[in-house]
């Protein structure tokens, strides 16, 4: 095959241009930015949360850059925060692909984000192999931080683990719900509360159930687990399970479920099965979509939380919460969720670590995060600071409980913080239609 001279010239020109462009890219790769890889489920079933995670990171990065970026001592200058999006596609494989690309191709300095425990555990070994600092702001199973088969020494957990959140809810049930129900219905003060647990058949669900049972046993709480029913992840038809639960006559039902499971579960319980009881919910479902999806069926239900789109805890962070919520709504036209809130803080922690380390070296960043103390921002933290100083490098949250109320005039379901006392806005209420169970 013969090629015309013009063709050869065109190919040569293209090759030359490619070489020159490659040269330009190499020159521009001097560290003019702190590169933060954001692990977010931008597509797939968890994309609602993923978008919240990504948008919150964008908000934090833009705020930081607007103030001049981050000062890195070894470079002798301020650098900007540059976000790199890693879509885990809500799958284990997607997460592995996204994290590998961000580490090897994009050469990020630090990773922030990660939602599902199943997805995060699948890519932790990749992070460990490259010793990249990773601030995990979503996955809640303790297997993420307590595992020993992977070196997690570069990973930091900025989300409450399931054990802690299930334990807090169990204490709330004993301290607040049980006495209120016994008093209102003239029952013996020491009557145990009859609790039904409906849990996802996954490490997340099983871990929470174990935490509930161990909390009851360890603290000697007057709670009797009268039913523990399991279901497959992603289930949408809960009618038979709820019929089974109803037959056990519980005083309250505590589902360990994701948002897309809890909404149909509660709707079917109230609408189809006729369960006139109070439902609880785990903290990871406190999202604007939860309130929208439940509507009037969520009236008087309880949800554990650490950040709510519609409730502001009293105390030092209330102004930060209002500002964050306002800025987020103004920019994205939607209310922020709690995974986003943790990611927003995660970006600030990454920046604080870079300033403390004085370098963008990954090992130095890991050391800096390990000893950092960042003042609490939009979520209430134990001791008022975000710190990873404990054994498993987990930050410690002050969790709170909210009760949801249906506003028939505005056709809106909204929460009020009811526990603990130092954060609460209102008292726990038992609805008129509520009927206690009986043994």
């Amino acid at each position: 095959m013969h090629m015309r001279p013009a063709g050869i010239l065109i190919i040569a020109a293209v090759l030359l241009a490619a070489l020159l462009t490659a040269g330009c890219q190499t020159q521009s790769e001097s560290p003019a930015a702190l590169k933060i890889g954001v692990v977010a489920s931008m597509t797939g079933p968890a994309s609602t949360t993923g978008k919240d995670v990504w948008q919150s990171a964008q908000l934090a990065a833009d705020e930081i850059n607007a103030k001049g970026g981050v000062f890195v001592k070894s470079l002798g200058k301020n650098v900007t925060v540059q976000l790199v999006q890693g879509d885990d596609e809500s799958t284990r494989e997607g997460g592995q692909k996204a994290v590998t690309k961000m580490i090897t191709d994009d050469r990020v300095d630090i990773l922030v984000g990660g939602f599902s425990s199943a997805v995060v555990t699948a890519h932790q070994s990749i992070v460990a192999d490259h010793k990249v600092p990773y601030i995990i702001t979503g996955a809640s199973s303790s297997t993420v931080t307590h595992r020993t088969d992977v070196d997690t020494s570069t990973m930091f957990h900025h989300a409450p683990i399931t054990d802690a959140s299930a334990s807090q809810t169990t204490i709330f049930i004993d301290e607040v719900m049980r006495p209120a129900i016994n008093t209102k219905f003239g029952l013996a003060a020491d009557r145990p509360l009859r609790l039904a647990v409906v849990y996802q058949d996954s490490p997340f669900g099983k871990g929470a159930l174990a935490a509930i049972e161990s909390t009851i046993a360890a603290k000697g709480l007057k709670i009797q687990v009268v039913a523990n029913e399991t279901y497959k992840m992603g289930e949408t038809d809960f009618r038979t399970i709820l019929t089974s639960v109803k037959a056990k006559k519980p005083d309250a039902i505590y589902p360990i479920a994701f948002l897309n499971e809890e909404v149909p579960m509660l709707t079917q319980a109230r609408r189809d099965v006729g369960l006139d009881t109070i439902f609880l919910a785990v903290e990871c479902v406190d999202d604007p979509d939860y309130y929208k999806g439940l509507g009037q069926y969520g009236d008087y239900s309880i949800i554990e939380s650490r950040f709510s789109a519609y409730a502001t805890p009293r105390g030092p962070i209330s102004q930060n919460v209002e500002k964050y919520r306002g800025d987020y709504e103004a920019r994205f036209g939607a209310s922020p969720g709690m995974m986003g809130a943790a990611t927003y803080e995660g970006v600030y922690v990454a920046v604080a670590a870079a300033e403390k380390a004085g370098t963008l070296d990954r090992a130095a960043l890991v050391t800096a995060i390990g000893s950092i103390e960042v003042p609490e921002m939009v979520e209430s933290m134990e001791g008022g600071v975000i710190s990873f100083a404990n054994q498993f490098r987990e930050s410690q949250f002050n969790l709170f409980m909210e009760q949801l109320h249906w506003d028939a005039d505005k056709q809106l379901l909204r929460p009020k913080i009811i526990w603990p006392d130092e954060l609460k806005e209102a008292a726990f209420e038992i609805p008129a239609w509520y009927r206690p169970g009986s043994g």
């Binding site: 029913e229 038809d237 019929t243 709707t267 079917q268």
Partner: protein, 293 residues
């Protein structure tokens, strides 16, 4: 375990409701297989699209979602016809692997298309009758479930009339029984393929509407599990047998509901496949299947 009559009736009703969705889906799969001798693995995605079409029309018009069946079913019928004409017909008869991979490819195409069009977020629909319930024995059954059962029966009766009392139905059945003989007798078998695929898609669309209106959430990725169950029902009832799909669907719905109550929710999917294995060991052609299918 004590089981009072009210609870037992409730469990049976939930099984009957689930069975209705399965029946519509499995009947569609069987109709397509019966005529075209091909399996559409993307059939669950047609249910998903049916749910989204109803939801979209409801959001746009506010019309009673049950009435929207009148619009959703033709939309899905047209989609089915288009899929058969543009995707399946070029590969039909070439190689079974081509047909299998084509339908697997369609799963991703439909899922991503739905995500692009309607977003990844889950959606739900509220029935206008959600506050109405009917007292049956000592429990109150929401009216919606009676309507769902009624709609399913009406759709199946309509399908049966079409297949048994019209020339079109006769042509469809002839193509299903012997494609070559049907062709030789002047039946346009390619037209029958198109019609069978369209009807199968329309049944999936009806299932999608009923799924949505019954208080279940849906997202672009929800079709796979119902589709797997529909295939299992088809095998259980017998390939190509519509009575088999109806009986199999009912059997599955009731088995799932009973297993969930007695063994726990983790057994819901497993028990159906355990039963499938048992039936196949005893009768490899399924309950109503014939040798050679």
């Amino acid at each position: 375990m004590t089981l009072d009559p009210g609870t037992l009736l409730q469990i049976l009703f939930w099984g009957l409701y689930a069975g209705c969705i399965y029946i519509l889906l499995a009947t569609g799969v069987n109709l397509i297989f019966g005529v075209m001798k091909t399996v559409n693995f993307a059939h669950g995605e047609l249910l998903m699209i049916g749910a989204y079409v109803t939801w979209s029309l409801f959001v746009l018009t506010g019309v009673n979602p049950y009435l929207l069946l009148v619009a959703t079913v033709p939309v899905l019928l047209a989609l089915g016809v288009a899929v058969e004409r543009l995707a399946f017909r070029p590969v039909l008869g070439s190689n079974k692997l081509n047909e299998i991979f084509l339908s697997i490819g369609l799963i991703y195409l439909f899922q991503n298309g739905a995500a692009l069009l309607w977003g990844d977020d889950y959606q739900s629909l509220r029935s206008p009758f959600e506050a109405i319930s009917v007292p049956i024995a000592d429990f109150r059954l929401p009216l919606d479930y009676l309507i769902i059962i009624g709609v399913t029966v009406a759709v199946l009766v309509g399908l049966q009339l079409l297949l048994r009392r019209t020339r079109l139905g006769l042509a469809l059945r002839a193509t299903s029984q012997n494609r070559k003989a049907a062709m030789l007798s002047g039946i346009d078998v390619e037209r029958m393929d198109m019609l069978a695929f369209g009807l199968g898609a329309a049944l999936a669309g009806a299932a999608g509407t009923l799924w949505a209106v019954s208080g279940q959430v849906f997202d672009p990725y929800m079709g796979s599990v119902p589709a797997i169950k529909a295939f299992a029902i088809v095998i259980l009832g017998g390939l190509g047998s519509i009575p088999g799909a109806i009986l199999g669907g009912l059997f599955y719905g009731l088995a799932e509901s009973t297993a969930t109550y007695t063994l726990g929710g983790a057994w819901k999917d497993a028990i159906s496949f355990v039963l499938l294995i048992i039936v196949l060991v005893i009768r490899p052609t399924g309950l109503f299947g014939e040798r050679g299918e």
